[in-house]
Subunit: 492 residues, 2 copies
Amino acid sequence: MGGSLESLKARLADVNALRVASTVLDWDQQAFMPAGAANARAQHLGNLQRMAHEMFTDDATLKALEGAVAESDDDVALLRVVKRDLDLSTKIPSALVAEKGHLAGIAHEEWVHARATNDFDSFAPTLERMFEIARQEAEYFGYTDDIYDALLDQYEEGATAAEVRTMFDSIRGPQVELVKAIQASAPVDDSALYGEWSQSAQAELTREMVASLGFDFNRGRQDTAPHPFCTNFSVNDVRLTTRYKDYLPSSIMGSMHEAGHGLYEQNSPEKWDLTFLAGGVSLGLHESQSRLWENIVGRSEEFWGVWFPKLKSAFPCLAVESASEFYRLVNKVKPSLIRVEADELTYNLHVLIRFEIESAILKGELKVKDLPDAWNAKYEEYLGVTPESNSVGCLQDVHWSQGSIGYFPTYTMGNLLSYQIWNSLSNDIANPNELIARGEFGPILVWLRTKIYARGRYMTPKQLVLDVTGKPMAADDYLNGLGAKYRALYNL
Amino acid sequence: MGGSLESLKARLADVNALRVASTVLDWDQQAFMPAGAANARAQHLGNLQRMAHEMFTDDATLKALEGAVAESDDDVALLRVVKRDLDLSTKIPSALVAEKGHLAGIAHEEWVHARATNDFDSFAPTLERMFEIARQEAEYFGYTDDIYDALLDQYEEGATAAEVRTMFDSIRGPQVELVKAIQASAPVDDSALYGEWSQSAQAELTREMVASLGFDFNRGRQDTAPHPFCTNFSVNDVRLTTRYKDYLPSSIMGSMHEAGHGLYEQNSPEKWDLTFLAGGVSLGLHESQSRLWENIVGRSEEFWGVWFPKLKSAFPCLAVESASEFYRLVNKVKPSLIRVEADELTYNLHVLIRFEIESAILKGELKVKDLPDAWNAKYEEYLGVTPESNSVGCLQDVHWSQGSIGYFPTYTMGNLLSYQIWNSLSNDIANPNELIARGEFGPILVWLRTKIYARGRYMTPKQLVLDVTGKPMAADDYLNGLGAKYRALYNL
């Protein structure tokens, strides 16, 4: 019987090697690969991903799993997550997996073209088909109450549409109201943050900054990529990327964000490295850590008390004269059209709109052809802005074209959880902002490591939130924290 | 029957994907990977290489190969090279493969330690064991005349020890004599080439230089690595590396050398990309191209006529005043102890020594414990220098510790073939050095592409040499070319 556990582990090690190989090829593609290599890379990635899928979903894996007898609590957790992942990978018939993969390729081309030419109608039939595939996937996964549950669970184990709706119902009113109050107050001029900034100075400063948080460059790197991301090949090999734009905080806050993901991965236990227990437990929890380090630490007044002098010395032409002024500018709230450029406060409203729309389409309450009107109406209602074209409206995100439907709410879960976890941390570490003011992140990192990072996928995300914060995910910590911060910033 | 050919090709595409994945991981390890990631990377590489080996040597591959019916000349060539590779991969029992892999790991550690502490004796038993494994491999491969043939054939299909001996017999006398004559002439002072040179200026200049040869940066890159190499993941994805030392020509000639390998790979036919027919036909032919671009083009007086002004503008402090002076300095001949730092002329004598020694050990004519004495005697005889320690003597190369026995002669074959091929090119392109003098490498590259690069592994190396140069590999072109160059340089 132990033989089955051993053979399961050996098999999973090969699956891990194949997945990591794909991940390295993908990292290289985004950070270094010459443009001309795209076709060969697509073929290699396709073959490797198919081999990983075939090896994982082979009957031999199921047989080994069924015969495996746990010899420790770790084994119990391992068998649970492998069963979950295997279910997710085998419930969908391979014909539908293949059809989705094929459609995703076509849809990506069409989406790129539709966005470039502001031609939603040409993309609508393919998008309609992708939503139909999502509906079929949901039926195969199975659900009790809401078709959305089945899709959301892929990204956030155990989360339900009802919870997401409760979450958004809690924050919709206060957030819209707060944004409107800010809109009515004196505008903040952050034009000083735009300019031509030295890329090498940004590279050096952001490297120093994320190292100060505790990111270990002996076990990681930071490179550049058009769309920043964090990936990892092992607990000891975590790769961040950032990008350099004319908006100076873009690289800085982007690096802090990716470093949050990176700290989670670097502090996964060594003993689980390269196994299915390693790393982040869910997208929501992962995002809570990128948001915690980016927003709660990185957009705090205390943080810039330490880093503003270094910023000024790296960018002597920056026409901002004090840490508190920089703090005010870097927290400017301005409703805008583009999600990925949104400030901390309005970001959730972008997510809310996407959740409401994808949920309505899945249930047949909204037709794909009417998506642009619904999108624009919601942007007007929640954010007071109206897209001048679908390109900067409902065509801006790649997610739906790839069949990532039911994914968006994890961004807002991350925001809520970041404050909820921070408050819990603040109960154990008196006044953590004093630590931030001294640039001492060690105790904060140790707390997060102990409570979250060191637990990998050992518990479910819900168990982990309950264990760490003493309650299920809720909006109150977030609303209180954000409200206090922005009322003070805008003298409301 | 066609089904077998299709299934063979599909299977080989997966083998290719697994091998390329390993190659990307290896490239990353040498160029970018953080130091702390070494253990995980070793595990991933081990798993991927094992999977590639298992998939390739699986009975299903042999069955598909046996059932495959060629539908074109390309198929005939493909089946031939697959059969050869499969033979090489299956003739050795897996127990011996595993033992060698295990011993190579231990031997590498021991070799590093022995070299660092100048302690040959501690390494000798393991090296003895590695030679014993090489002997067993040779028996499994099989041979007619000379045990060395079986090992050499892995690296250079069809080459024999008798040919290698003929090759060295031809060049030993003239080369030793020429080196002695140079030693007796006025010494060249190349101290101006040593200094602290801007790395970014070297990166920019070498990039421009290799691009001018025809290396396509839309389908390739150049990065830095401690031990420069060229690797490729596709005909459209060729990665060069270089390094920056206090000897300025180190990066320049190193980049030219790797670009020679890279041009070979980038000009392999697109139709064979990702198949077993793609890329270089043998180590000797590959080396002939790195040597041709490095030495015949890059160390020519005409080349520096074009590039010296750019070199001076990139390195204004360089105390060399003319192209012809730089040409003289960059071709300085000085017998030395270290192979990888040897000049063009003495390089072969280093290789000769290694061939004579490994051949003698394989045949039992020399005992491993007596290797240091034999080594030092030969360095004294051929190069007039004696290592002050084994660390800079018989412990300098990694090859034997890894079981790469029978590999060294391909370096000298590359040198001979570079001149032989160049003379053949000179019959078709009147005075190619005039093209070099104008910095126009297009016609040279086109000729090499047509004659060599576009042929991938379609012919055997011997067929290719015969087809391109009209004769088998011989030493006369090389000796004449090198003799004329150095007699002129040294006024002999």
